[in-house]
């Protein structure tokens, strides 16, 4: 019991720390909100005139809205590890690693902190989406589900990022690999078009991409006439298992960042 208490206390201390940092300097939250807005306003508006993408009867803008929300969470999370490299370079991280806080609690705290940023992204995207007239589900519980999905996606991809940071250790290498990963993750998912439109090999890739499951479930929950391809149960199971596994793996590898 005492151990569990210490674990969660350490986890929430990390979340609180990240929250305080954002309160001192919220610039990042605001600047991060611009990109999804551009995707919706520019890309979304143009592509909704094409009618070439089989969206299953929903307007294209509706179809892509959950995709863009997922994407904005992905883009934010996939570079989250860079802050750990900065903390490594300045020596801050060492102080955490010599503290008795369990490493899994430290990384779980980071995952939740990334989730906190994802929540602000979600709020921004919802505002834009409502203004653009996307047909949202009238069930408030469904939108709670969307929030949960944003948290899960942020947890998975931010820890994946932390893992890459722990292995690459320098900003230059990290940025290279980060850039390399972002686009394939995004395009090999159902964010902008249905998976069944993809060539066979890409369909295989998209099935092992957690982003596909996140988008799939978001689409089902967020939209008025949303449907899920994989089934909501599968979507949540994949994301929860993947994030849990990431906490365990990143917790083990994290300390290698200082060596």
């Amino acid at each position: 019991m005492k151990r569990t208490g210490e674990f969660f206390s350490a986890t929430f201390t990390i979340v609180e720390l990240e929250f305080r940092k954002l309160r001192h300097d919220p610039t990042e939250l605001v600047s991060r909100a611009v990109q999804p807005m551009l995707w919706l306003l520019v890309f979304g508006n143009v592509f909704s005139k094409l009618h070439g993408i089989p969206t299953g009867g929903v307007p294209y803008l509706d179809f892509m809205a959950p995709g863009i929300l997922s994407q904005s969470v992905l883009f934010m999370s996939i570079f989250y590890g860079i802050s750990s490299i900065r903390e490594r370079d300045t020596g801050i991280i060492v102080r955490f690693l010599v503290s008795p806080a369990p490493r899994t609690a430290l990384v779980f705290g980071k995952a939740l902190a990334a989730g906190m940023r994802a929540l602000s992204q979600t709020a921004f995207v919802y505002v834009v989406v409502v203004l653009m007239g996307v047909h949202l589900s009238s069930n408030p519980l469904a939108h709670l589900g969307v929030i949960l999905l944003a948290l899960l996606g942020a947890a998975f991809f931010s820890l994946f990022s932390l893992l890459v940071a722990s292995i690459t250790k320098t900003q230059e290498r990290f940025m290279g690999i980060g850039q390399l990963m972002t686009m394939p993750l995004f395009f090999a998912s159902s964010a902008l078009y249905p998976i069944k439109m993809m060539p066979g090999w890409l369909q295989v890739v998209s099935h092992i991409n957690p982003l596909s499951y996140q988008v799939d479930a978001m689409r089902a929950l967020m939209l008025e006439n949303g449907t899920s391809t994989f089934g909501l149960g599968t979507d949540f199971a994949v994301l929860i298992l993947a994030s849990g596994a990431m906490v365990a793996i990143a917790g083990r590898i994290y300390s290698q960042i200082v060596t």
């Binding site: 720390l17 305080r20 940092k21 020596g91």
Partner: protein, 247 residues
Amino acid sequence: MDTIVETDSLTRKFGQFTAVNGLSISVQAGETMGLLGSNGAGKSTLIKMLTTLLPPTSGDAMVAGFDVAKEASQVRRHIGYVPQMSSVDGSLTATENLEVFAKLYSLTRAERRERVQDALEYSGLSKFADRLAGTFSGGMGRRLEIAISTLHRPRVLFLDEPTSGLDPVARDTVWDRIRTLRDEFGTTLFLTTHYMEEAESLCSRIAIMHAGHVVALGTPAELKASWGDPAATMDDVFIHYSSKEPA
């Protein structure tokens, strides 16, 4: 007296390179042990192993009665570490920096309030408690780091070059702080430094490391005496031991 740090044939290799080679030393509780050595002598690797940041390749090390490899989390409860690089978070205030670690070390709410206030006071940072640590001078940052590292009253405090890059005035305030810890709390100190005067004035014993070995160990007076020349300075002693070809 109790032995508080003890290593037995402690070794760390990085590929073919042996950074610390079969090191056996012991430090008594309350001592201030100074670790000297040129860059690359293995000082930082040794400190990283003793603070559980790096697992030994072979050999054992006990810190505060616990094995660094097998009981790392117990060791972490009893040690403090001031790393070579500045480790305060510049995007948080002084108080926030302290609060975070008071929580990670599971201090109770009452302990937290009292010790954070205390820490700010004795570091001379009370007036700057709510300023972002990023705006602090080198000396202020260092004092804050020492304050953070001692919130949980560690039995051993490791300091990796605590005064490098500081001006003489700031260095003095850091030394004062270190002496207070030693005299008032009886904290065992384990510090690395490149400043001979610092080693001489602070340390009860000095170990000189060279190529992964401890090549000389004793009180500053003993080390100078071993050199034979009564007028010898610590610089002479250091240069003598650090310029030998590795065995």
